[in-house]
């Protein structure tokens, strides 16, 4: 197909138009508006960096950022450890391993909004009942403070996404040639030695993929946050995405929200570019 041929452009036009109208034009407008006092309809003055200064001083953004960073650190570790453990478990030969795979993956298909509501019931009603039945006080009063709100979000995310991470690890585990494992077994390597010296190095690429997936997903979480805690109590469990949405649609401070969204973009883009860099480096090393 030639550049100048009509069909080349006919094939590309629908997606290019959509991409421009839905992503690029709004993004460019957003950059501009973040330097103004835009109210969603128009603006009357240029503010320079005023929105960005407000954002760092007095807007809940920094609190949301710290909360999100803590959340991301904990979930990245838990998701990778649990996801890999589940993958190792279901790739063993025992009755029901395929059914288990199905079960672990299932929560991943249900939307975050619905899952958050389901777990709201589990945390506030079922945990409470279990706590009273077994006299475990720590099971009562969930989601009423920042600490249980945080762990509630962690549990929902881990429950939802471990199956997804498991599937990726399985894909890489199945690529390990069985001869390698068998040879090690013949040489008398223990299961633990086989894991540390053979399995683990061979699934290192999966680790990079899963690390970055869990990292960027963690920063972008919104639905679960909305339906589980709605940021409460007193905004103590508000994550970055929710802080931006609320600044825009609850406080009607559109220009400030746009400034926050651009900082958010820089964080998420930096993570993705780091991933591309690592992948390239890894390919070179191989």
């Amino acid at each position: 197909m030639k550049n100048r041929s009509l069909s080349f452009w006919l094939f590309l036009t629908p997606t290019l138009v959509a991409l421009a109208l839905v992503v690029f034009i709004p993004a460019i407008m957003g950059v501009f508006y973040s330097f103004t006092n835009w109210d969603g309809l128009g603006y009357t003055e240029m503010l320079g960096f005023k929105n960005y200064i407000t954002l760092f001083h007095n807007s809940g953004f920094i609190a949301a950022l710290w909360f999100t960073i803590k959340f991301v650190i904990v979930t990245v570790i838990l998701l990778n450890v649990i996801g890999l453990a589940l993958a190792l478990l279901v790739t063993q030969k025992f009755k029901g391993n395929n059914l288990l795979r199905t079960v672990f993956f299932m929560p991943n298909l249900i939307g975050g909004l619905i899952l958050g509501f389901i777990w709201q019931f589990i945390f506030t009603q079922a945990f409470d009942a279990l706590g009273k039945a077994f006299h475990m006080a720590w099971l009562t009063g969930w989601l009423t403070d920042a600490k249980t709100g945080f762990w509630g979000l962690v549990i929902v995310t881990v429950w939802q996404m471990s199956g997804y991470i498991m599937i990726i690890y399985i894909a890489y585990l199945q690529n390990i040639p069985s001869e390698v494992i068998e040879a090690a077994e013949m040489d008398g390597a223990s299961p633990w030695q086989r894991f540390v010296h053979i399995t683990f190095p061979m699934i290192a690429p999966a680790f990079t993929v899963c690390m970055f997936l869990t990292l960027s997903n963690g920063f972008k979480i919104y639905d679960q946050n909305l339906s589980l805690t709605n940021g409460g109590p007193y905004k103590s469990t508000e994550m970055l995405a929710m802080n931006i949405v609320n600044t825009a649609y609850s406080e009607n401070n559109f220009a400030l929200a746009e400034a926050k969204a651009l900082i958010f973009f820089l964080i998420v883009a930096a993570i993705s570019l780091l991933q591309v860099y690592y992948n390239r480096k890894r390919e070179v090393d191989l």
């Binding site: 094939f11 009755k95 288990l100 995405a241 825009a248 993705s272 570019l273």
Partner: protein
Amino acid sequence: MKKTSRFFLGILGLLLGIIWLFPFYMILTNSFKTPKGIFASVLSLPGNGQATTTNYNNSFKALDFISSLGHSLLITVVSVLILVLFSSMAAYALQRNKSKLSGALLMLFVSAMLIPFQTVMIPLTANFGQAHMLNMWGLMFMYLGFDASLSIFLYQGTMGSIPIAMDESAELEGANRFQIFFKIVFPMLTPITVTVGILNIIAIWNDYLLPSLVLPQNQYTIPLQMFFFFGQYTKQWHLALAGLTLSIIPVIIFYIFAQRYIIKGVTDGAVK
């Protein structure tokens, strides 16, 4: 492996499976209880005169279930068809034209994936509002803009495995570009089409934030209706649980019938 260790793995798997399914078990059993029944005992099975199915009748009506299911289906199916059609066409043009321009356009699509939704949502909804496009048709167009990048990327990766000689021989027989693409190339892309379809179905079916900013109330999808419903019936868990159960039934049915393709699609989407 030794028999005993297999046995213990089975037990461990069973325990983990039970933990994983516990939330589903809780909402299912409690959705068949009266409010008194839930209050009396969350953990027991429905019984003791506290078992009921009326929660389902009531929440079915309150959720306007048939209509929200219809909106979810219509929006998901049409959006995914549009995405599959236009992104495979775009990927074909980019892959068969080996020029700097194609490379630059592909980079443009890929770089769009770096931009998070919150960064564009405010100007986007403001613009579409002015154009009177804040409805399901506008939403379908938005999904094309947001999700074309990943779809094109996936299509473009496999397009290379279809020999260009097939295009050329068809061209000699007098076929035009559209005939070559739709009659010869597109059918050969079926495996990746399934992957692209599955990934987009899951994302669009479950999406909440974008439709909540775009759709008018008479076009609400299941997640939107669920959120609205939760706001109206706070603390009425008997109705909420029946509603939640109803809302996940379509997903479970989809999973049962398309499990193999879903797992393959999700793996491809993450690994490629």
